[in-house]
């Protein structure tokens, strides 16, 4: 069973139906116990980071989802659901516009860094249109990316060595991460052994999908970059549009459930991962 996590911010029917059409045994639930028993978890993307984070904590979903990911259950985060994989988010947080604020909302902290608003200008200082709405393509990450929105992370992937997400996180945020204390959550997931991060397009979620395929995006916030990035998208700035943690946890910035045939193919790939797990 694939649990589609309902954190009470919107309609999840299209995600549920998309997974069922892809052959998955999906059901929508807000019950932490049901999530804890699920074979796989999908965290959809509706609402704002801080709202979703608060509801997930109140309902005990945050720990349930983290535990499933830590246990190796297949996970797919969509849009905000991908953002919630990270340590913190500024969207909807108190003092959001104050860049020095330490009141960001806590995420699952599976991946390091802070989800923040798209920069107002591109690398040349030109304004561009936000939200990023419409159909866009994916490309393998040019990592470490020149002029990417957050190029501060150490580029240790590709060397075959383990990536210290802790260290990467601190480098990104420029400050120690006291998040797990603030959030009242258990310590962040430890990376044991070499992570299954793939820096090319060779991610099972995109099996059989050509690099030029279009997917539907609608967002104003973006994930930080790092060795966990599987694919990037460009809209004046370049940002992560797919991330991976170990072999089974994925996040996508686009909406596969709204991306017609290409999105259906991604959902089928995820269901295949679930069935093979």
């Amino acid at each position: 069973m694939i649990a589609v996590v309902d954190y009470h911010k919107g309609n999840l029917k299209s995600v549920e139906r998309g997974l069922i059409a892809a052959g998955g045994d999906a059901f929508v639930t807000d019950d932490a116990a049901a999530i804890a028993r699920a074979d796989a978890v999908v965290l959809p993307g509706v609402g704002a980071f801080a709202d979703a984070s608060a509801t997930m904590r109140d309902l005990g979903q945050m720990e349930a989802v983290r535990d499933r990911i830590a246990a190796g259950a297949p996970f797919l985060g969509i849009c905000l659901g991908m953002h919630l994989l990270f340590e913190e988010g500024t969207e909807g947080a108190p003092d959001e516009d104050d860049e020095t604020s330490t009141h960001n909302a806590p995420g699952l902290a599976v991946l390091p860094g802070v989800v923040a608003a798209m920069p107002r200008t591109d690398a040349e200082g030109r304004a561009y249109k936000v939200p990023h709405v419409g159909w866009n393509t994916l490309a393998p990450p040019a990592y470490p990316a020149e002029g990417s929105v957050s190029g501060a992370l150490p580029a240790s992937v590709g060397s075959g060595g383990a990536v210290d997400l802790h260290q990467a996180s601190s480098a990104r945020a420029g400050q120690p991460c006291g998040l797990s204390v603030r959030a009242g959550l258990p310590e962040r997931l430890e990376v044991d052994g070499p992570p299954a991060v793939q820096v090319d397009f060779n991610c099972p979620l995109f099996a059989g999908i050509p690099a030029g395929e279009y997917f539907y995006f609608t967002h104003s916030y973006i994930a930080p970059s790092g060795p966990f990035v599987v694919a990037e998208t460009a809209h004046s700035v370049t940002f992560p549009c797919a991330v991976q943690y170990r072999d089974t946890a994925f996040g996508v910035q686009f909406h596969p459930e709204k991306s017609s045939d290409a999105g259906a193919a991604v959902l089928r790939n995820f269901v295949s991962i679930v069935k093979g797990a």
């Binding site: 309609n11 939200p131 419409g134 539907y216 104003s220 459930e257 017609s260 999105g263």
Partner: protein, 254 residues
């Protein structure tokens, strides 16, 4: 690169597509869902259901349509028409609509945009602006409300800018002068708005032939182009339109 979008718009009354649909090979040409699925197959980027009913009884039908669409469509869709309050919008979003468009109610109460964007995110709120050129002034357009019946005295470009400032995620810009004319988009109007706001602009009103779509993007600098009857009557397919746009060097999803 972000593709320019092509958006078929359907006028819906009592849950049925009106203004005549002349599609062959549809079991039920008046069913908005079936028509939207047909457009999905043709690579439409999203669809808009414009509710042209007024009474609250009929609104329930439209909520039901949004609910069915969320189960049966695999592309984004927007529902427009008749929203007066955040509560109205909440009902439609809860039914599964990806976006709603607001028009007259936002002009009467601009705070509706602010509140709706705060509640549902800017990406969920389209502000529809119906604009008519001011007589004798080719670079000035006035906002009309209530389906084009009521002049407001408000400058269309300034209003679009305010809507964007208040949290609109997109502007759906219709030229009242061109709507139904088949003379093409008002590219001067579209360009004036597109250069003023930092959110996407959907050009609407006036499409009659293939070339008009590319003109809306190239001359009007629109991020998306909308049409209704040329698609519904089967004069042009979405795919034909996109192939033509691509031949003009416009990035489209095909």
């Amino acid at each position: 690169m972000l593709a320019k979008r092509v958006i078929p718009c359907m006028d819906v009354k009592d849950g049925r597509v009106v203004k005549g649909v002349n599609f062959v090979n549809l079991r039920d040409a008046g069913d908005p869902i079936e028509l939207a699925q047909r457009y999905d197959e043709e690579r439409a980027d999203e669809v808009i259901f414009l509710d042209i009913t007024a009474t609250s009884d009929d609104r329930a039908t439209t909520v039901d349509l949004a609910s069915r669409a969320s189960e049966q469509l695999h592309l984004p869709y927007c529902v427009g028409g008749g929203f007066r309050s955040v509560a109205d919008i909440r009902t439609m979003i809860a039914a599964g609509a990806d976006k709603v468009s607001v028009n007259s109610a936002a002009v009467a109460n601009p705070d509706l945009i602010t509140q709706a964007a705060a509640a549902f995110g800017t990406q969920a709120i389209l502000v529809a602006v119906d604009a008519k050129q001011v007589a004798g002034n080719p670079n000035k357009w006035e906002v009309y409300t209530h389906g084009g019946r009521t002049a407001t005295g408000i400058d269309a470009v300034a209003w679009a800018a305010e809507a964007a400032r208040r949290g609109a995620g997109e502007i759906l810009l219709t030229s009242m002068d061109r709507d139904g004319s088949r003379d093409g988009f008002d590219c001067a109007l579209t360009r004036a708005v597109a250069r003023t706001v930092n959110i996407p602009v959907i050009a609407s009103g006036g499409v009659g032939k293939l070339e008009h779509f590319a003109q809306g993007v190239i001359e009007g600098e629109a991020d998306a182009v909308l049409a209704a009857s040329v698609f519904h009557f089967g004069e042009l397919t979405v795919r034909q339109v996109k192939e033509h746009m691509r031949a003009q060097g416009i990035p489209v999803r095909l």
